[in-house]
């Protein structure tokens, strides 16, 4: 049965994940048609409520909703009464009166989309809340991996970077483990959580992590804007220790590994320019697949009937 909301990956059964991933493929086929739009959500309204800046996720959701023929309203948080002290609850009551069918929320506070979901009949999709979850990113990552490895169980994904502050790391490793994929973390000791899910290997050294023989190297964005404390000495130092340098890219090419990154890329930090032209970089696939997966999510969720 479809859910009302999509707040995190943990609440999804494996069968539901497989269903959403299966459904993303027919949506991707739509992009090859002369009219890249279907009427499935005609007359439905989608409200974008982004309290945190995001160009990519925002446009990806917007394109997905429009390709399903939904009407999209951007609630311009920066210019709204929210900055004048209106509470989230008051905002939601206002929005409820607008009778949106879907609300897509991004907020720096973990758990906020869930609070909104309880206050509204609309379907709420979490587009990233603090360091908690980013479920559509996880789904698009899993879909991208399944395009290369249709049966991904037993494959190995090495996630490199600031694991501690990353909702991407959290959601993506959760979905991958549900699909039987092996996950390991690599990053500075200060950025890799000491406690956390069992059976995730932790590395602080690049060579040791590569000796684990990953099939995919997944680089997290260094979130310079989200850290109050300096966890590593400098960006140059980070690139030297954990970035994909040209020398490391040569090793990755020799082994035929795939490279993923949720974007936007900090060139010269997580990876060098040459990675952008690497034939097994899946970074652009991730962008295109993000739209298809978000269409599948919008099509799957069922808001409580507005008239009911």
């Amino acid at each position: 049965m479809p859910h009302k909301d999509l707040l995190d990956i943990v609440s999804l059964e494996r069968e539901e994940i497989e269903h959403l991933l299966d459904q993303a493929a027919p949506f991707k086929e739509i992009f090859t048609r002369s009219v890249k739009k279907v009427p499935a959500l005609k007359g439905k309204s989608v409200l974008m409520l982004f309290y945190e800046a995001s160009t990519r996720t925002h446009s990806s959701f917007e394109v997905a909703a429009k390709r399903l023929s939904a009407d999209v309203t951007n609630f311009d948080v920066a210019h709204s009464s929210i900055t004048k002290g209106e509470s989230v609850r008051e905002t939601i009551e206002t929005l409820q009166a607008m009778r949106s069918d879907f609300i897509i929320v991004r907020h720096s506070r973990a758990g906020l989309p869930g609070n909104i979901a309880r206050l509204t009949r609309a379907s709420v999709i979490n587009a990233g809340d603090g360091a908690h979850a980013h479920p559509t990113q996880a789904l698009l990552d899993a879909f991208t991996i399944k395009e290369k490895f249709p049966d991904p169980a037993g494959k190995r994904v090495l996630i490199i970077g600031d694991i501690l502050h990353s909702r991407v790391a959290r959601s993506t490793s959760t979905i991958l483990k549900k699909l039987g994929v092996e996950v390991a973390y690599l990053g500075p000791g200060s950025l890799v959580p000491k406690v956390g899910p069992e059976n995730i290997r932790r590395f602080t050294d690049y060579a040791q992590a590569m000796a684990w023989s990953p099939d995919i190297v997944y680089l997290l964005r260094v979130q310079m804007e989200r850290q109050d404390v300096q966890y590593f000495p400098s960006l140059r130092e980070y690139h030297r220790l954990y970035g994909i340098t040209e020398a490391r890219l040569a090793g990755i090419r020799d082994r035929g590994l795939y490279i993923m990154h949720p974007g936007p890329v900090n060139r010269g930090v997580e990876l060098c320019d040459a990675v952008m032209d690497y034939e097994r970089s899946l970074i652009n696939d991730q962008v295109e697949n993000g739209i298809a997966v978000r269409m599948a999510v919008l099509y799957w969720l069922k808001p409580e009937s507005v008239t009911g």
């Binding site: 049965m1 479809p2 269903h19 459904q23 493929a25 027919p26 949506f27 086929e29 048609r33 002369s34 009219v35 739009k37 279907v38 009427p39 499935a40 399903l68 099509y299 799957w300 069922k302």
Partner: protein, 176 residues
């Protein structure tokens, strides 16, 4: 539950469709597009019978789930499958193929879906079974079998490749 149409009758229905299509479109290039599910199997079997013809024959599959008009009434949206239209829709002579023609709503949805691939020169409709009770101004150009039914009856079509056997059963529902 009695079988209304046997495998032989279904085969004869498909023969009739193929013959009627050949008679009317001989020598012209045509594209058969089957509507999921089972319309694609009917289209494939018609195509096999036309394979000897000396002309260009194209084949495609259409999933119309996203074009339905009843989402509001469904607890769960229908599962999608990929559409596959591997030819130029622009200027094509398309024959839409389905297993059963009933209210005509599926065909309405299919026509909408088709136009998103381009502008065909001509679209015709071929159905294995016409059971009547139209709710839309839609009429088949080619009919394999005309089967009189009550509006409330269920017509269950099984086809070899999709369901393992060829048969049609009509389940009569008592009037409410």
């Amino acid at each position: 539950m009695p079988v209304t149409l046997s495998a032989e009758e279904i085969a004869a229905g498909i023969d009739r469709l193929a013959e009627a299509i050949r008679e009317k479109t001989a020598g012209q290039p045509i594209a058969l597009i089957g509507i999921r599910r089972r319309g694609d199997e009917v289209a494939e079997r018609v195509l096999t019978r036309l394979a000897e013809d000396d002309r260009e024959l194209s084949f495609g599959i259409l999933d119309i789930s996203l074009y339905r008009d009843d989402f509001e009434h469904l607890h769960e949206n229908p599962k999608l499958q990929e559409s596959d239209i591997p030819f130029q829709m622009e200027g094509a002579h398309v024959i839409l193929v389905d297993d059963v023609l009933f209210t005509g709503r599926t065909i309405r949805a299919a026509l909408d879906a088709l136009s998103d691939y381009g502008r065909p020169a001509k679209v015709e409709l071929a159905v294995l079974i016409d059971r009547g009770h139209r709710e839309m101004p839609i009429h088949p150009d080619y009919t394999g079998i005309s089967l009189p039914t009550q509006r409330r009856d269920h017509v269950l079509v099984s086809l070899e490749k999709t369901d393992g056997t060829d048969q049609v059963r009509v389940i009569e529902k008592d009037p409410p």
